[in-house]
Symmetry: C2
């Protein structure tokens, strides 16, 4: 059966945008917090993570609607992490997705609080899902594990600690598996959990996600030297300026391209046993070729 | 029946300290993140919030053990909020509980990430509780609501926005009910939820907590002018230096003392109907008289 996966992805994006646009409706807000939240949350990201949640739910026999609340929680965690990573005390980036970063527009204090509010709301979203309570508990546990000290935050700690000194390839891989891979894995696993999938399915999706996560980051490093500010929506060359070790600085562009290829095939292989993994296969290959 | 509530409180503190000391054992850590987490988490706070969780669980017919995981989650949220509030971009405080603040010791980037890790871990703790899944889901929802944009974070937003201009009493009350009251309410409500208490019990505990929370903050404002750095473990006079409106600046010390008294009696009254609310009564009166 042939599918038009680009259309499917656009449809998923629209579902997610519509959900996120109303996620903060039923709450009180103070100061410019809602504006600051939505400035970053509704700024047209690619929505790869929440799409992965929806489609992994479908892959494991559930519906997209089942996974929407979980998907939005994952995207909120992703958005908070970008806001905090961009702060002057962290990567000190002024541009994100073609627009001034949150702290440039709203100030540092509000940017910190916007991140805190989004992280808190992410778990609130999980708890709002109309799913059996044991699935929600599993999702909270999975997201906390992957987004916290042993996952994404741990990766950012390594990233900050590594600035200005050369990392080994092993150190860089560990850093990126934590910083990027862990949340992408949570995205896929939460879809499986929403569907009531098996631990075996969840394990396969974890393997898949860690492989595409690493490939994603290597591709990011490549684009940081081969792309332009305008194409990328953020300053190219920032890794070099921040004296960061990247896969390109360690391996060169050619070997990076080979590695992305290899990881993508590894991701595809880990889908063995699923009935209809074609979207996931297509997505892995799409991400390997992306230009922004 | 006579009780020695001071001993009971000390016993609760020890339970909580012991639990928190091992809360981060079964995880991987990177850089100095674990040290930074435990520097702030195990720095001898009063543990009022988690004690309230344990005792509210007992009040509603549960055991302290049932509530320990929830209690530790509440304390982690409290600790993260202190770390972020102390940051240079926020209140810019160098001293907390008699020691240099987190960012003074570990730097701003690590302090931001330490807060992020603690907030994330808090929800992980909730999900770890050995309780029926529906109680955990209710706890996640309650904590997210009270700690987030519509609660504690919202209060901090108002606090930052209010610096350097005079607030009305109504504005100040709203700010403090959000900034301090909401998390104290979550602490009490989570105890009720752990016990499988009724919505009526939860409502009463909410009333109680909001009243003692506001009294607590008014007492804080009083101590900021009447105490010394050493007694308080943080710099006195910081409100004045930050040009913050306080209950003392609005009402004067005498009317503040009356208001604390009135709120404490309101808190006590809201416990009507509980079989044995004596600890909660004692705690409300203790907090009203505290000197640090």
């Amino acid at each position: 059966m042939e599918h038009n996966y680009t259309d499917l992805m656009t449809k998923d994006q629209k579902l997610i945008e519509a959900y996120l646009a109303h996620a903060f409706d039923d709450s009180a807000y103070y100061g410019d917090l809602r504006e600051a939240i939505e400035y970053s949350l509704l700024s047209g990201g690619k929505r790869i993570r929440p799409i992965l949640t929806l489609e992994s739910c479908v892959l494991c026999g559930g519906s997209k609607e089942d996974a929407l609340a979980f998907a939005s929680g994952v995207e909120m965690v992703h958005t908070y992490s970008l806001i905090h990573d961009d702060l002057p005390a962290m990567d000190n980036d002024d541009l994100r997705r073609g627009r001034p970063t949150n702290h440039v527009v709203y100030g540092e204090a509000t940017a910190i609080l916007t991140g805190d509010a989004l992280l808190t709301a992410a778990f609130g979203q999980l708890a709002k899902a109309e799913l059996p309570a044991d699935r929600i508990v599993a999702a909270v546990r999975c997201l906390a594990q992957n987004a916290g000290a042993a996952g994404m935050v741990g990766g950012q700690v390594l990233d900050m600690a590594g600035e200005g000194r050369a990392l080994t390839r092993q150190e860089l891989e560990q850093l990126q598996l934590l910083k990027t891979g862990a949340l992408i894995s949570a995205a896929a696993e939460l879809g499986c959990i929403a569907a009531g999938g098996t631990m075996e399915q969840r394990g396969k999706l974890h393997e898949y996600a860690m492989a595409i996560g690493l490939a994603f980051q290597i591709r990011d490093d490549m684009l940081d030297v081969t792309s332009t500010d305008q194409e990328l929506g953020k300053p190219v060359g920032s890794d070099k300026n921040n004296e960061k070790t990247t896969f390109v600085s360690l391996l060169g562009l050619e070997r990076c391209a080979e590695l992305v290829e290899k990881l993508t095939e590894k991701a595809v292989d880990s889908l063995n046993g699923f009935e209809d993994p074609q979207f996931h296969v297509w997505l892995a290959r799409l991400l390997a070729k992306r230009n922004k």
